[in-house]
Symmetry: C2
């Protein structure tokens, strides 16, 4: 059973397994440095559908089917699923997954959604409430631009701090403890708002949420940043990542050597014109499921702290002059299944 060791942090007594997983991407993601990591790259931004919104749900549906196929599973094998996305009323999830007929929990954490899904899945699975659970999310450049920014045909100029919403999806099936990768611990985030109001600088708005959850998980467990091969943030991009490192240094936590940001990994900063990096729910979900999990499964990477970050605003909130509240949840994914100690002094 998952054990609560602080206000935010739970450690798993019998660390759940990430049983199977898949990542899909669009054309631009297929031209990036992680192209080989995706289970499917679709060069048609419409994914064979009549609208981009229908394309995004097809992307998500296909990604779930890849994750099931790779695990030798059918939808009937899944106890329930957690899913959410950036589109108003999470229609990529609800329309994309309705045909699977799997008991469904809609979640919303903006770009932190994959972390939130993994936290809830692992808490429930480690407590034997359901044997196999799916966490999935997606984003699509064209649907996000249309909804949050400008019509694509308008050709608006992007600011240097702006990020590029990935057309990508990641899905993971969590099961009872069996083999690596394991989820050893999680920290549930709280909403942080330091007053950033620039909707074209999401990285800066989200960095304090990452700072909070990374320092919380390390403090609560007694682990240090050096115990992890990578401290992985979702999509802070170049601006937010620099800010995060500075914020953590104030707390005497140095992640200079082992920080990795999914938004900076998915595109080539020189060859692909994405300004501050990639973003979107699907960015961190696909980099986790396409890149990191295979390496943890094989033992090439032993431990990561995965912290997808979400900016919890809407266009209405921004138009009303509001700042951008953010959240991040931490998921400790490991090659080994030795439970963490509850007394963190014993950890080291």
């Amino acid at each position: 059973m998952a054990e609560k060791i602080s206000r935010n942090t739970f450690i798993m007594n019998d660390p759940p397994t990430i049983y199977s997983y898949a990542a899909s991407g669009g054309d631009k993601e297929g031209q990036g440095p992680l192209a080989e990591c995706f289970d499917e790259i679709c060069t048609d931004s419409y994914f064979g559908q009549p609208t981009w919104e229908k394309a995004e749900r097809e992307l998500m549906r296909r990604t779930v089917m890849h994750a099931l196929r790779k695990g030798g599973l059918s939808p009937d094998d899944i106890d329930y699923m957690f899913s959410g996305d950036l589109l108003n009323q999470c229609i990529s999830s609800t329309f994309g997954l309705r045909e699977l007929e799997i008991p469904f929990f809609g979640i919303y954490g903006a770009c932190s959604t994959m972390s939130e899904g993994l936290v809830l899945s692992s808490l429930l699975t480690d407590s034997k409430i359901g044997g196999k659970v799916i966490a999935v999310t997606s984003s699509h450049f064209c649907t996000a631009e249309r909804q949050f920014r400008f019509p694509l045909s308008y050709g608006g100029i992007r600011t240097p701090t702006a990020q590029w919403t990935c057309t990508a999806s990641g899905a993971a099936v969590i099961s009872e403890s069996e083999r690596p990768p394991y989820i050893k611990g999680v920290s549930v985030g709280k909403i942080i708002d330091l007053g950033i109001t620039d909707a074209n600088n999401m990285g800066a708005a989200m960095a304090p949420a990452a700072d909070y959850i990374i320092s919380t998980y390390l403090n609560d467990t007694g682990l240090s940043a050096d115990n992890f091969d990578y401290i992985v943030t979702g999509d802070l991009g170049t601006v937010g990542s620099e800010l995060l490192k500075k914020l953590l240094l104030i707390r005497k936590i140095n992640i200079e050597k082992n920080h990795a940001d999914c938004g900076m990994m998915i595109f080539d900063p020189i060859k692909q014109d994405v300004h501050a990096g990639g973003s979107g729910c699907g960015c961190s979900a696909s980099v986790l499921c396409g890149y990191f999990l295979d390496k943890i499964k094989s033992g090439e990477i032993k431990n990561i702290l995965f912290c997808a970050t979400g900016a919890l605003m809407s266009t209405t909130a921004t138009q009303q002059g509001e700042s951008i509240p953010s959240i991040s949840h931490a998921v400790h994914i490991s090659y080994d299944n030795t439970p963490l100690k509850t007394d963190h002094k014993e950890q080291l």
Copy 2:
């Protein structure tokens, strides 16, 4: 620990308590038949704020504070919260609750959100993952009209099947088993879509989801509709409620005598011009927390099956000609804490 007895249904071995709860409403709700049930009625549709969106988040924040106050609790006593609402990117929840600094899980189930929050809270609490958890949601007539329908000043004519989004909020704190009301069992819904496309007839779109989850919970537990004082649906309204009764009769389940729909209870059908009834996340949440829970706590009502229903569409989906997928989750709330039997033949 919560025990899974079918694909959808869990029974609680040590039924969690709904420890404290509160309901708030707006002016129209304060003129309705349940006026006395609310902890606060605010006759100012702006709740002292400059915009309706800021009003809705103030409504939600106040409702949480009422629930905490009535339980003698402070935000620090709460392990985590589940919250979501109808506004794009759930901004009522994220902006309304950020100052509480409680670990936060965003959920989205449209008007089924209160059921979803109660299901997740009770599953986690019965498994000792957290001692006190809040489930909360809200809706506001003016924000919903502006976002989903027409500007209010446009004065559009509403169809006879249309429902009136309630300005209301309900919040419940779930704790380990202590005293009534208890949550004895839950069924997790799946997304149902029978092809209804009329966004002005949500009741018809959601009735099949209610039919599915009510029949599932009864079949899985071996209980009959007569074992409940009330089978409570969220906001099917007059049209959806009639449809639900017909759908259940096909399955030989008769709820004619004990069906109650929150959307039909909150407004007076003769004196208040709301056409098919009330709707919105806050409708079922406030009627549950304002009306039913007190009566279960006192023993006046022994058992209800609470099934908030959600229509999982968006304006974009409707504009693209899509049908309306729906979902409902069932929550069995009881005056007594005798665990249900896992073998349903023993139940009767």
